[in-house]
Each structure stands twice: as C-alpha cells, then as structure tokens.
C-alpha cells in the first residue's frame, strides 16, 4: 500500500510539472488568481464599504484553495486520457487508492496560491495581519484545501463516468459553495435550508475558521470550525471512495472501462 501511494504521488508530481512550468504558474495562473481576488475585492470598493471589502478579500482569497482542489475532479480523469485506467482496473492494488491520492498536488498548489493571494493583497485592501494571524491563516488555508480535496474527488468519481461533463460537476459544486458558503456574503443572508446545505461543505467551515482566526475569534471557536471541516470532509471522502470502488467494480464486470467517452 505504501509503495502504491509513493508511486501515485510521484505520478501526481510529474503531472503537476506537465500542467505548470514555473513561468506559466507565476505569469499565468498566479496573475489570474490575483486578478480574481482583486475582481471580487473591488466590489467592496464599489459599494464604498471597507469592512465589506475585507470580507470579500478574505472570502475570495481563501476560496482559491477550494478552486484549485476542485481541479482534482478533472485530474482524476487524466488516467483515462493517458490510457492507464484499464491497467489500474486490472492491477491487484486496485484503482481506489491510486485515484484518491493521485491529485494531491492541488492541495499543495492551492494552499500556496491562496496564501500568497491573501497575504500579498491584504495591505492593498486595508487588512492588517500580524505574524501570528498570517501563520494561522496559512495553516487554515491548508485545512481548507485538504478537506475540500474530498469534494473534488467526489466530483472526479462522477467525471470518470460522464467524461464529457468532467468540468461541469466541479464548477457547479465550487460555484454553489461560493454563492451560499459565506464567501461573498455571510451565510446568514440565505434562507435556513440553504444555510444547512452550505454547512455540508468542508471549505465553508475552513473559510469560517480563517475569518475567526484573523478576526480575533477564540481558539476553541477556530478549532471547532476546523473540526467541522474535517468531519464533513470525512463524509465526502467516504462517498468518493464508495463511488470510485463502485466505478471499478462496474468497470471490471462490464469491461467497458475504455469506452466511457
């Protein structure tokens, strides 16, 4: 099992090097990330409300971590494109662990770009962060990325079955979280049903934890939100694992794995 995970993580690392070179990451992706966060933060400027500007900045920046880990949905299907899916189905190690671990690199890049966006843009939008607050924010951004990865995997397991819609699931999930998860407006703005729905997403709790940590919230309150993030992520991970396992079992039984397109 350890050997399988080591190989998988190495394969993920080589995938990452195909996705970005240092140049395309810095001048492509990071420029987009910064523009995206500025785009939402200037909404606060338009409304002429400094508190709202800071709220939007934190929400938009932290959700970059959610945005990138949702890309696990598309990268789960890369095995199909590279033709290795049928080999994985035949291998004794099975594909569940491999598919679940292969996209780990989005957690790393998501944490990195989200943290850079938050810390670099904070001074421009009137958000003052001390060293302790910055460190706590980065740690909780990592928690957000890590826990949201489970949601990305769930979308990935669907994307394996419906390849043509591989970007649709992840985008809808991400935008649902962004709309109702306290990213742009407090969760309390929405009807109670939507608030409960939003609470099912780990990134919503991760973001709430970041807001508490940099807004002077108590440590137990921050840890409780982080705990909720992990608890909901466990649920999503279980669903993702079941869905991947079912995909593998079905693919082996019907021999249809290479004809999913």
């Amino acid at each position: 099992m350890i050997a399988v995970l080591r190989q998988t993580m190495w394969s993920g690392w080589t995938d990452l090097r195909l996705v970005y070179t240092p140049t395309t990451w810095a001048f492509g992706w990071m420029v987009r990330v910064l523009c995206q966060v500025v785009f939402y933060s200037t909404l606060g400027t338009l409304l002429g409300d400094p508190d709202r500007t800071r709220f939007l900045l934190v929400g938009a920046a932290v959700f970059i971590a959610a945005n990138e880990t949702m890309m696990a949905s598309a990268s789960t299907t890369w095995e199909r494109m590279s033709g290795t899916l049928s080999l994985l189905a035949a291998a004794p190690a099975g594909m569940v662990a491999v598919l679940a671990a292969r996209s780990w690199f989005w957690i790393a890049t998501g944490t990195l770009s989200s943290s850079i966006a938050l810390l670099a843009l904070a001074p421009f939008f009137g958000l003052r962060l001390g060293f302790g607050e910055s460190a706590a924010a980065v740690a909780l951004v990592f928690v957000t990325a890590l826990t949201n990865y489970a949601v990305g995997l769930c979308c990935g397991s669907l994307a394996l079955r419906f390849h043509g819609l591989r970007n649709v699931f992840a985008n809808i999930a991400l935008l649902t979280m962004t709309a109702f998860g306290g990213v742009m407006v407090p969760v309390a703005f929405w009807p109670a049903g939507l608030q409960w729905f939003a609470a099912a997403f780990p990134a919503v709790h991760g973001l709430a934890a970041v807001r508490l940590a940099i807004g002077g919230g108590s440590a137990p309150a921050v840890l409780a939100e982080a705990g909720f993030a992990f608890a909901t992520a466990a649920g999503w991970l279980a669903v993702a694992a079941a869905s991947l396992w079912w995909f593998q079992a079905n693919a082996r039984r019907t021999g249809s794995i290479d004809f999913g397109d």
Partner: protein, 259 residues
C-alpha cells in the same frame, strides 16, 4: 477570398454542431446564473439596489468573454488533435475565416447568458432590470459582441501557434474581466490599470452598457461606441494578420501537426 464566406458559414455550422454533441462545451452558460447569484447577493446584501443592473450585466459579459476565450482555444485544440487543422491549411479557405466562423457562433450562443442573468434577477431576487436606452443598449451590445469575437479570433490564432500558450488560456478570464470593467467600472482601478484598460474595447463597452440601463442621459455615446468599434477592429486585424502569417509559416515548414 471567394472561399471565405462558405468557410465562415461551414465553420459556424460545425461549431453549433459541437455545442449539440458535447454539452460540456456550454459550461459557461451553466455557470452564468451562479455568477449572477453571487454578484447580485453582494449588492443586495449591501443594500445597494441601484447596483443591481451592474451585478446582472457583469455575469452576462463574463459568460460571453469567457466562452470566447475558453471555447476558441478548445476548438482549435480539438481541430489539431483530430487532424482537421492540417486539412484546413491545405484548402484555399483562409484560416481566419474558419476561426471567425467558429468564434462568431460561440459569441452568438454566449449572448443567451444575458437572458439567463436577467431571469436570475427577476425570479430569484425579484429584481427586474429595465433597459432605459434600448437603442444604445442594442448598438453597444452588437459592437461588444464584435469585439468579443475579435478577441476570440486573436486568441484562437495565438493558440494555433503553440501548445505552450494554451496553458495560459485558463488564466486569461479574470484578468480580462477586471481590465474590461465587467463588474466594477475601470475608473475604480488604480490609475495605471485604468489607462491600460482603456486600450481594451471591453472597458468602453461595459461602461456604455451600464449607462444604457440607467435612466440618466448617455453622455458622448457615438465617440464611445466608436472607441469600442475601433479597438475591436484592431483586435480583428491583429487576429487576421497572425492567422495569415501562421498559415504561411506552417505551409513552408510543414509543421501543422507538430507546432
């Protein structure tokens, strides 16, 4: 140039067929209502009903620009992968006509986003945005659509140049939304960015579209429309020039499949 029009029409038809065959290509139309909810919730929560039109116009513009950027790149990538690009290059039809046909179809379909966003406002939030100056709105929208199509043609031509450029495709949307003043007028951007954005037709177009929705008079309409059209024409010219040069180079070196 006699082959240009049939090529344009055939490319537009092919693109429409692709939308039907692969629903995933309509992703931006699926996401448009979500962006409308996100942006409108911010202005509503802020108690700024006067900005509702901004919040509903922005996702429609983003959808159109986003589709031009993403789909133009994707269609070229698919043409290259399936060997269609090589076939196009051996025909007398200019590549620019083929790219324009595809992008024109993409832009036309993307305008459905306007209706979607209006409906989100009306049905979801009870916010009905009226068009105070319909003629200004229609003319500006037509000019903006031309500019968006021009952006798509230029980018598609750039994407033909090389695969490496494609990794920037995903990164282009938000910088363009920001510089194009999709939601927040570029006058709110720091000075350097505002000056830069004034070279981009979209910043003029979005300002005019917003003005066309508000009851006050629209100042200097024709010069501003002229700016949208002029800057769009420059983009078209750049796209056509690049496509032409590219075809010449690739025909000489025979690297269509390996570029």
């Amino acid at each position: 140039m006699s082959a240009a029009l049939p090529a344009f029409l055939a490319a537009a038809r092919t693109q429409l067929g692709e939308f039907r065959r692969e629903p995933g290509t309509l992703l931006m139309l699926v996401t448009a209502p979500f962006f409308a909810v996100i942006l409108l919730s911010v202005t509503e929560h802020g108690g700024r009903a006067d900005l509702a039109a901004y919040a509903l116009l922005a996702p429609a513009v983003m959808t159109s620009v986003g589709m031009a950027v993403m789909e133009a790149g994707e269609s070229i990538f698919r043409d290259r992968a399936s060997g269609v690009l090589e076939a196009i290059m051996t025909t007398p039809a200019p590549l620019a006509a083929v790219l324009s046909g595809r992008v024109a179809a993409i832009t036309a379909v993307s305008l459905l986003g306007i209706g979607e966003c209006w409906l989100v406002g009306a049905l979801g939030f009870g916010v009905v945005v009226a068009v105070a100056h319909p003629l200004v709105f229609a003319l500006t929208l037509a000019a903006a659509a031309a500019g968006i199509a021009a952006t798509g043609v230029l980018l598609a031509a750039v994407f033909v140049v090389g695969r490496n450029v494609r990794s920037f495709q995903n990164s282009l949307t938000f910088p363009l939304y920001l510089l194009g003043g999709a939601m927040v007028p570029v006058a709110f951007l720091p000075w350097g960015f505002e000056a830069l954005s004034r070279l981009f037709f979209l910043s003029w177009a979005t300002d005019l579209l917003r003005d066309s929705l508000s009851p006050g008079p629209v100042a200097a309409f024709w010069p501003r429309l002229g700016a949208v059209l002029g800057l769009s024409a420059v983009l078209f010219a750049a796209g056509f020039w690049l496509a032409h040069r590219l075809v010449r180079r690739v025909r000489r070196t025979g690297t269509a499949g390996f570029a």
